[in-house]
């Protein structure tokens, strides 16, 4: 099974797709990358992921897997060399917990901060910083979440090292203050200098341009007001 052809359906600026790219590269797995235009979804995407209609989608032989952290775990279990998740069940549970935490408490709030304006942007950024405070405690004293080598949690949180500074710049917010969060800042730096991560990132200028437009489009949309109400004024 492991030797069957691997394809990845992704979007050039998606941090979720990059989790899968990093996992595949770390394991040395060859794959074909297929770029998807998420604003004009292809019949292929709609056929492969009819439920969420999102990237990334991994195609392995005739198997189709969606949801980035489900895909990363699938990769880890199918190609068990260079393990990403720890061996110990408690450590595995902790990795899954913090991956979920960072997704719900940091990624979502930072994204809200990027797309909101004024007081709501400030509130979202403040919530994001509170999340970083907790992550700081977890990464303190470690080179990487995975110890000496990149692990599951480094991959799931890797977007913090590159996408978050872009969102901070576009959104004129500071979420990762290197003085307040030295351990997190150091981890971000370590990650970016790792060849698999550092050599596999989208272009920064293109990202800035993309997220500037995205932020404006989302802020001006009708549905964003509901998102703000749900997440910032529950």
């Amino acid at each position: 099974m492991a030797e069957q052809k691997v394809k990845l359906l992704g979007f050039w600026v998606s941090p979720f797709a990059y989790r899968v790219i990093w996992a595949l590269k770390l394991k040395g797995i060859d794959y074909e990358y297929i770029e998807e235009d998420i604003f004009n979804k292809s019949p292929l995407l709609l056929q492969l992921n009819p439920i969420h209609k999102k990237v990334p989608v991994l195609i392995h032989g005739d198997r189709v897997i969606s949801e980035s952290y489900v895909i990363v775990q699938y990769i880890d279990e199918t190609w068990p060399h260079c393990p990403l998740l720890p061996q110990d069940p408690y450590e595995r549970a902790m990795a899954r917990f913090w991956a979920d935490f960072a997704e719900t408490k940091l990624l979502n709030t930072a994204w809200l901060g990027l797309c909101a304006r004024g007081a709501e942007r400030e509130k979202a950024a403040k919530l994001a910083m509170e999340a970083v405070e907790k992550i700081e405690e977890v990464v303190k004293g470690k080179k990487l979440f995975g110890g000496e080598s990149i692990g599951y949690l480094d991959i799931c949180l890797g977007w913090i090292s590159y996408w978050l500074p872009v969102w901070e710049e576009v959104g004129s917010m500071q979420i990762i203050d290197p003085i307040k969060f030295p351990a997190t800042s150091s981890w971000m730096n370590t990650l970016l200098h790792h060849p698999v991560i550092g050599d596999n990132l989208p272009g920064r200028d293109a990202m800035i341009e993309y997220f500037q437009k995205r932020s404006k489009d989302i802020y001006e949309s009708d549905w964003f007001k509901d998102i703000i109400r749900l997440h910032l004024h529950p």
Partner: protein, 219 residues
């Protein structure tokens, strides 16, 4: 050395019930502590300082939070009996995908029906039925989501079934009419001791929801 297992939860929580089902499937003895969410115990605040939520499993003094993370932990530690996740990586991926779907969709949509978020009851009901139908489609003709055996996705979803009567009552619809195969699956699951001993009584759940609605001023 015997394992010391403690579960912090509240009796109506479908998330806490998932952990009870998993522990029962593995035949494990544990101490159950009922929490008061209006007056959280020092133990809960110490064991889940990040979210301050239930359920929390404390295994030999070490806490684990988030119900499906707890269930997966239980499955990995006590892997000698009643496996909840299959061994094949692709089947595991499918199970994780669907458990994630239940988590992402069902609870939040269901809230629109019960806690009457203004103007969202009808859309909530429509979305809720769509979700259940999708899940029913995934079940197909299998006895369980895990195929021949009760598994990970079954655990994630079955605990919602004791809330069905409450959703139906406030949404004014019948889940059995909309999704007969799914309701048949819930009855099949309830034949299992691990499920029937872990799920709360649907009428007690309804009374509980009614009490919360009164407190929120929507009853």
């Amino acid at each position: 050395m015997a394992d010391e297992i403690v579960l912090l939860s509240i009796w109506p929580s479908m998330f806490g019930m998932r952990v009870r089902v998993a522990l029962a499937e593995k035949g494990l003895k544990y101490e159950y502590k009922e929490e008061d969410l209006q007056n959280k115990s020092p133990l809960l605040l110490m064991m889940n300082p990040v979210h301050k939520k239930i359920p929390v499993l404390i295994h030999n003094g070490k806490p684990i939070s988030e119900s499906m993370i707890i269930v997966e932990y239980i499955d990995e530690v006590w892997n000698h009996k009643s496996p909840l996740l299959p061994t094949d990586p692709y089947q595991r991926a499918q199970a994780r995908f669907w458990a994630d779907y239940v988590d992402k969709k069902l609870y939040d949509i269901g809230k629109k029906i019960i806690w009457s978020i203004k103007g969202e009851e009808e859309t909530g009901k429509k979305e809720f039925i769509e979700c259940l139908k999708l899940l029913e489609g995934e079940l197909g003709d299998n006895p369980y989501f895990g195929g021949e055996n009760f598994g990970f996705v079954d655990v994630s979803l079955v605990t919602f079934s004791c809330w069905f009567h409450t959703y139906e009552s406030y949404g004014n619809f019948s889940i059995e009419t909309e999704c007969p195969k799914l309701v048949a699956w819930t009855k099949r699951c309830l034949e299992k001791e691990s499920v029937s001993s872990s799920l709360a009584d649907p009428h007690k759940i309804h009374n509980f929801a009614s009490g919360v609605r009164k407190r929120l001023g929507i009853e």
